[in-house]
Amino acid sequence: MTGLLRHHTLSVVVENKAGVLARVAGLFARRAYNIYSLAVAPTDDERFSRITVVVDAESAPLEQIVKQLFKLINVVKITELAPEDSVERELMLLTVRTSGGQRSEVIELVDVYDGKIVDVGHDAITVAVTGEPSKLDAFEELMRAFSIVELQRTGRVALPQLERQAPRLRAVSGKVG
């Protein structure tokens, strides 16, 4: 993931209703904003889901993206998560060819990166690695020396860093209040 400085992570709390993801995705398409990655999952409150979206702030000013998102009736709250003030994680599944006695070498690297081998074949293994996106970038780069068969990343999910949450959490603008 290069050019991270141009990317901003938005944590968008939305009502957990049919079609809400389409509204968010449609807004990005309609306004010509680029999405770098997108992850959606329910929150602890079943009425709401959290969309973690990494946007390209080159395509439009972040402020405008946030304001347009707020106009969606089902969007409840938006928080911008600066990388230094948040905990970010991403999961990668990667199948790599291990023929010709490369298996142990791959396993060694997986160990270094706290990865898990989740599937083993005759001449390939599938590994799962979680961590900060930059860590996954590095691991991906190392695996290129071998032959990558398939690779899937989830896109990042993020939450504000805990002990500094109150002062550092930056609400871009609030609908409430």
Binding site: L27, K71, K77
Partner: protein
């Protein structure tokens, strides 16, 4: 109380105070049409669903109340997409209800099925597909709440046929609960003070009043602000009527076809007070060259408008009426009229522009009783019409040259007397919008000013007007061309006229109008204009269509060529000089 979904739908509309709706039945919406027979709501049967949408818009423009359209699924839903987009662009409160195929058939490519909520998602403020009849009252209440509050806009509710047929326990919700929708109406006090400070100190200020003034019912507040500060006001295409044209501080319409004074005063201003306006490209011209020396106070209910085009020095999110009233208070607290900066030089400069560069056209008259070859000028028609109608007459316009001339030459004295399609620029808007306005304000005279190209797009709604005894009057400015396109081809495409000729005689507008149950008149010379208008004004039991055969070479001036700076405004053709660029 057990009701069917259809009964609950109609009852919900009654609970919302709906008096009239515009629609056309069909398969999927059929169940909803049965309880209409017993309802207090007047239903107006349109001839095309686009007509229903524009009528609902015209109704909303004229009354301030939300317009309601009721149509079926599939092609009916796609036909209403244009009015939805139009209403979205111009912030018109609208509730559209569409039928949908039975919920069990959704996704199977059933007869007259389309993904209505998918198609309309980007042209509505919000939309909902109802999957449970129990939800109908809540969703309808939410729809009206969303359509009419904050920045108004269209809301669509899509109801599958089986949901209309199933029974539910009627319960009307006391309130709406939308955790993600809480429009902020009250401006920030600090920003309001700062705005008042800038206003009081500005030497060359202009109030840039937009359609938001009308949506917020803020015309009186605007007038108070202008009068206490003595600051001149430009009214955008969407704000015509928000400030009386006869007021000494009114500069009229700015923008691509705005008058010289309105355009230039903004260019030279040191402060623009943008109230419910959105720095549209038709107003700003080339943005980087727009009002280069001006500080900006920008008031809008929609936070996304602040900084979208031009970064404001003082951004204020809030309801225009409330914020303007607060600004007036803050200005008074600073000392009011007495402490305003000296603007005598500014006002003198403005007066000089007004004198030097008024709107201009020339109507020639044939001598010796022969009118052959004397072209009727559209501006002359509009001036006669203006002077022959009461000043609370509602004028509904289509889109193109006639729209610009109407906005330029009419004298708007009251808010809600001008109905037009500004943002989307929808040709064919005028006739159905005029019908909707007349339904909402039967006490008012309603004139539609239309072009021949526009008229052909939605004229069938005159059948609706005749059948429902809605006596609107239509002035077709027939110049036999798609006039605005012709103007661009003349000025910017080297007079290469490509596919713009429509013919003055085909269709025969008089026969066509008569076939639709209207009284029809044709005017070909300047002398015939006044008698025809007088005759049309006397008829009040059916629609009237007056076809004016106007000069096809007449162009709209002033003009700022697209993409140019507003400094490069072309005031008009100079005799002997080529207007081509």
């Amino acid at each position: 109380m057990k009701l069917t979904g259809a009964q609950a739908l109609i009852k919900s509309l009654e609970m919302e105070g709906v008096e009239v709706m515009f629609g056309l039945p069909g398969g999927a919406i059929l169940p909803a049409y049965d309880p209409i027979i017993d309802s207090s709501i007047r239903h107006i049967l349109v001839r095309h669903e686009q007509g229903a949408g524009h009528m609902a818009e015209g109704y909303a423009h004229a009354t301030g109340r939300p317009g309601v359209a009721l149509v079926t699924s599939g092609p009916a839903a796609t036909n209403i997409v244009t009015p939805l987009c139009d209403a979205y662009m111009d912030s018109v409160p609208l509730v559209a209800i569409t039928g949908q195929v039975p919920s069990t058939a959704i996704g199977t490519d059933a007869f007259q099925e389309c993904d209505t909520v998918g198609i309309t998602r980007s042209v509505t403020k919000h939309n909902e597909l109802v999957m449970n009849p129990q939800d109908i009252p809540r969703i309808i209440k939410e729809a009206f709440h969303i359509a009419t509050t904050g920045r108004p806009g269209p809301v669509l509710v899509d109801v599958p046929k089986d949901v209309l047929q199933q029974t539910m326990d009627w319960e009307w919700p006391d309130s709406v609960d939308l955790p993600g929708y809480k429009p902020n109406t009250k401006g920030h006090p600090k920003m309001i003070k700062e705005a008042a400070r800038l206003i009081t100190g500005a030497r060359r200020p202009v109030i840039y009043a937009g359609g938001g003034i009308l949506k917020a019912r803020a015309a009186e507040a605007l007038r108070e602000l202008a009068e206490i500060t003595g600051i001149p006001v430009v009214t955008t295409l969407m704000a015509r009527g928000a400030f009386p044209d006869s007021h000494p501080l009114c500069l009229g319409m700015p923008g691509m076809h705005g008058n010289y004074t309105a355009v230039t005063s903004m260019q030279k201003a040191d402060l623009l007070i943008a109230l419910g306006s959105r720095f549209d490209d038709r107003v700003t011209g080339k943005v980087s060259a727009f009002a280069p020396d001006a500080k900006i106070v920008h008031v809008d209910i929609d936070p996304a408008e602040l900084g979208k085009v031009r970064r404001p020095d003082v951004p204020i999110v809030g309801d225009c009426r409330q914020v303007i009233e607060e600004i007036v208070k803050a200005v008074k607290a600073l000392g009011g009229a007495e402490v305003q900066a000296d603007r005598s030089a500014w006002i003198a400069e403005i007066r000089q522009w007004q004198e030097q560069f008024p709107l201009h056209y020339e109507q020639s008259w044939g001598g010796d009783g022969s009118d052959d070859g004397v072209a009727l000028k559209p501006q002359y028609v509009l001036e006669c019409l203006r002077d022959s109608t009461p000043d609370d007459c509602i004028l509904a316009s289509g889109v193109g040259q006639h729209q610009m001339w109407a906005s330029q030459y009419w004298r708007f004295e009251h808010p809600y007397t001008w109905v037009n399609s500004g943002g989307l620029g929808t040709m064919g808007f005028s006739v159905p919008a005029a019908i909707g306005a007349k339904v909402g304000r039967p006490d008012r005279m309603v004139w539609s000013v239309d072009g021949d190209g526009c008229f052909q797009m939605t004229a069938q709604e005159l059948v609706t007007a005749s059948a429902e005894r809605i006596p609107i009057k239509v002035a077709i400015l027939n110049n036999a061309y798609l006039g605005m396109v012709r103007q661009w081809q003349e000025m910017f495409y080297d007079e290469r006229y490509s596919e713009v000729y429509l013919s003055p005689d085909l269709p025969d507008y008089v026969k066509w109008a008569e076939a639709m149950g209207c009284v029809a008149l044709r005017v070909e010379s300047p002398e015939e204009v006044q008698p025809a208008i007088d005759k049309a004004n006397e008829i009040d039991d059916r629609p009237v269509v007056v076809e004016f055969r106007t000069d096809s070479s007449e162009k709209v001036f002033p003009m700022v060529p697209a993409g140019s700076s507003n400094d490069d405004i072309v005031v008009g053709p100079v005799p002997g000089q080529d207007v081509r660029q």
